[in-house]
Amino acid sequence: MTRDDRPPPLEDLDARLKAARSCQADKRDDKSEDRKTSELGPALRMGSDLVAGVAVGAFIGWALDRWLGTQPWLMIVFFLLGAAAGFYNVYRSAKQTTGVAATDSGDNGDQDSPSDGTKKE
């Protein structure tokens, strides 16, 4: 019995190494989830994401207006599109940070509220 156990079977060394490594990788993933900085970091993104969308939209509108000579109109249109893009940026970054379960409920809430609003109007 002891004789059979003593030489470590080298044939399945690869498989055992792989198993051990994947086990460690799982442990690391579990640990990284409760890091506090990853909560605060994305929260600081959202303000500038919103502003940048509006600014880029308004700038594109202003530049197109100057080029095509359609003074206020394209700027108004692109300002609104930029605002939409800004909100979309914030929505997307919120979706990335919160867990899958949270986004599912958030999705439903978001889809419900605009349809409710249009019904009232």
């Binding site: 900085t37 970091g41 940048a52 969308g53």
Partner: protein, 240 residues
Amino acid sequence: MADPLAQFEVKTIIPLQVGGIDISFTNSSLFMSLAVLGASGFLVLGARYGAAVPGRWQSMTELTYEFISNLIKETIGPEGRRYFPIIFTLFMFILFGNMLGMVPYGYTFTSQIIVTFAMAAVVFVGVTILAFAKHGLHFFSFFTPPGSPVWMWPLLIPIEIISYLSRPLSLSVRLFANMMAGHTLLKVIAGFVFSLSVFGVVPLAFVVAVTALEILIAFLQAYVFTLLTCLYIKDALELH
């Protein structure tokens, strides 16, 4: 009271003119060089022994390496390893820039919009080239949100394009605004210390607290810039 914005002034140290272009060595360039030297020195000297049981310094270098390595693994996945050098360099450069700004009489080059915008533009252009190299013209499908009806596309595609173009602006403005606002706030509060004589203790205590907060912000902004670079690379690799 001293001008709280005087700290952001770019001062020429060694005047240089090449072909009518001003490439003088300024205090901003000095601190950029210091950041590069500091980051390289920190890593090279920390890893010089390569001990199996790391000392304090080596632990710190290993910690920074693992931090970015794990960040890439979490956000991009295993194929993100290829982009480790650029991501790690960006993180160390911004981190050292922000931290050198916290040293008294230091200069914060990340509080200049042109510096942060240059870094954001490099990331933006690089990521766009990467996406084109990886997917060719299929890249444009990035601007059509999945699962949306075709009749919505005329509205959604401009929104997606604006959202994509707003990335470098958002990336640069965030870092610049945070650093500049924090340093201005510090100087303004510090100005009250002398004008309030004995009661100057109150703003002095406040300055100490804000300095601690600023060190946190300095780290966090470097982290956020790096995190977003990772997310953009992931978008370029996967398209959605």
